[in-house]
């Protein structure tokens, strides 16, 4: 029976995802800095002004912005994109198209999705952001001298000991966040065990091993080699299975409503994925798991004795036969453990546990079950169109079958491993998608929608609309939960206006579109939004979803 006294929130989801980027044809390694800056310069976003700001959540200084040099000389190409603040995270631009964001993180182009409610929308928005990145790549390459080309890889490892992240973000209650990170170790272990076993559905696959892990020809997860601890706030060393970064991005709501206050669970565990089913399941099954965890339905018999050891062992066995010890003393393969989580989720669904909190939960459950059944049956031909790691493994085995001189150690096989995820249309995933082999779960129209429009059901909608309505020069600073403007509307001095966007589920199209449809000055719009916000108490319960 679901305890209705426990506060819960709809499982809004976002992502901040780094891409591999380098310039092929330039002498020397480490061309990532140049490549990332060239890519970012081709993406239109706001704010425009080049200034430095302090991000209170992470304590980082970052600079805006990264724009092309006005010179188009190929000889200037290297100097055109360098310079400026060289902090870890800089050049942040929010997109008036869809309310997402792009910036540079440690010489990687990083794409941030607008906040969405459904796993299908998350996958569609992800593919939309990749199309935006591909356009940027094509534009940047058109400016490069012959013989040089920026390559963008949608993966998590260069195969040479460097990993970069594909982070997901989920809205949870402060109470749930405290439970898993600070108060209840069995919650932490449960979540870690869920994630560790989920790689069979969500891994991209990788040739070889890194970071001192045991040698292996091929493994399921790109990230498994890099997890070295169970929990922690760090993301660039001793990576944790469960990240404890507390960056809520909800303004003052953080301090309201006690345990019902919003919090953001920052998940650094997963691989970058391209296959539609991998993308949908990655987010969808996490939404299910977090909804159960938030409702405090955590079954301690599903906990692995050592989730860190298990994720590596599971990853290194693409035959899926390896089992790991549970805390109960029983053994379970990754698929068996995932089935146990699925059964828990089915029971919770039967009580209506996901209603209003996870959109399309029944479809996620069916997709998850179908995938696990096929994995259990080793239906590789059936799974290859559906899961990235299975498709990649099939491609590599096929390549070696057709070229007997190639082995897992051959540079050609490692090359194919990388270009499976190349953003270039010649990338192997896209070739299989065009041929009709890759499963298509996402509606093409929905992907195109997110290339140019924000989601209607989160604050991303208002973010995009405000950035469109404002004169670009008025946009002073943008963050996920606020936008500041310096408006020049006739007075001598610019007036400073701030729009709080603290509720991730608020300021939706349904709430605000009448205000945006009125003619009037921009400041009138801001006044109306402020008045509407004042009429909405911060202590009201956030809406649930259908």
């Amino acid at each position: 029976m679901i305890d209705l006294s426990i506060p819960r929130l709809p499982k809004l989801a976002g992502a901040d995802i780094e891409l591999g980027n380098f310039v092929l044809g330039m002498p020397g390694p480490d061309t990532g800095a140049l490549a990332s800056r060239a890519l970012l310069a081709e993406i239109d976003g706001l704010p425009r002004a080049r200034r430095v700001s302090y991000t209170p959540y992470s304590g980082n200084w970052s600079s805006h912005n990264c724009w092309r040099s006005k010179g188009d000389s190929a000889d200037d190409i290297e100097s055109s994109y360098t310079g400026g603040w060289n902090s870890q995270d800089w050049g942040r631009k929010y997109l008036p198209t869809n309310g997402g964001c792009a910036y540079i993180d440690l010489d990687h182009l990083e794409l941030c999705l607008p906040e969405v409610l459904s796993a299908w929308d998350h996958a569609a928005a992800w593919h939309a952001m990749l199309r935006i990145a591909r356009e940027a790549m094509d534009s940047a390459n058109a400016r490069l001298p012959e013989g040089r080309a920026i390559q963008v890889l949608v993966n998590n490892s260069d195969g040479q000991g460097h990993s970069y992240g594909s982070h997901l973000n989920f809205l949870v209650t402060r109470r749930a966040w405290e439970n898993v990170i600070r108060r209840k170790p069995h919650y932490l272990a449960w979540l870690a065990s869920f994630q560790a076993s989920s790689i069979v559905c969500t891994g991209q696959g990788k040739v070889g091993s890194e970071n001192g892990a045991p040698d292996v020809p091929f493994q399921i997860s790109q990230r498994a080699d890099y997890f070295e601890t169970l929990v922690g706030p760090q993301t660039t060393f001793e990576r944790p299975l469960v990240n404890s970064r507390d960056e809520h991005l909800c303004g003052t709501l953080r301090w309201s409503r006690g345990g019902a206050a919003p919090a953001r669970l920052h998940v650094i565990f997963f691989d970058n994925t391209l296959a539609h089913r991998s993308c949908v399941l990655k987010v969808g099954i996490m939404q299910l798991a977090l909804a159960m965890m938030e409702a405090e339905r955590v079954n301690p018999t599903l906990i692995l004795d050592d989730a860190l050891a298990a994720v590596g062992a599971y990853s290194r066995d693409p035959t899926l036969r390896t089992s790991a010890r549970l805390a109960t003393g029983a053994d379970a393969t990754a698929v068996e453990l995932q089935f146990m989580f699925l059964e828990e989720a089915r029971r919770f669904a039967a009580e209506g546990g996901f209603d209003g909190f996870v959109p399309r939960a029944a479809e996620i459950l069916d997709l998850w079950e179908d995938t696990l059944e096929r994995l259990r049956a080793a239906d590789w031909m059936g799974l290859a169109p559906k899961l990235d790691w299975v498709m990649k493994l099939m491609i590599l085995k096929r390549a070696m079958g057709q070229r007997p001189s190639l082995t897992w150690d051959s540079p050609e096989i490692r090359h194919l491993d990388k270009i499976y995820a190349s953003l270039d249309p010649s990338g192997l995933y896209w070739a299989y998608e065009r041929s009709g082999f890759a499963e298509r779960l996402l509606d093409e129209a929905r992907i195109r929608h997110f290339c140019s429009e924000p989601p209607a059901d989160s604050r991303a909608w208002a973010r995009a609309m405000l950035l469109r309505k404002a004169d670009p020069d008025w946009v002073d600073s943008v963050d996920w939960d606020s936008i500041s403007f310096r408006v020049r509307d006739g007075g001598y001095w610019p007036s400073r206006r701030n729009v709080d966007m603290e509720n991730p589920l608020g300021m939706t199209e349904a709430e605000l579109v009448p205000l945006f449809e009125k003619d009037g000055r921009f400041t009138d719009l801001l006044d109306a939004i402020e008045a509407a916000a004042a009429g909405t108490s911060a202590t009201q319960r956030p809406q649930t979803v259908n």
């Binding site: 036969r321 041929s435 082999f437």
Partner: protein
């Protein structure tokens, strides 16, 4: 960690390609799947013919991120 013995199984008669609606016999599905795979073979051939794999791997070295 231990390995499970694989139980004898029969893969389900399923789709050949992910996007294909199937229907028809297993031979037709196999033929369809082979057509899809041959299209992918062209991509593999192009990738390996047009570039120096070792040079690609050297150039692809990244900074660690996150």
């Amino acid at each position: 960690m231990r390995e499970r013995e694989r139980q004898d199984y029969r893969p389900p008669a399923g789709e050949g390609g992910g996007g294909a609606s199937g229907g028809g016999g297993l031979d037709r599905l196999r033929e369809q799947a082979n057509r899809f795979l041959e299209a992918g073979d062209e991509a593999i051939n192009r990738a390996l013919a047009n570039s120096d794999s070792e040079a690609f791997l050297r150039a692809s070295r990244q900074q660690g991120g996150e």
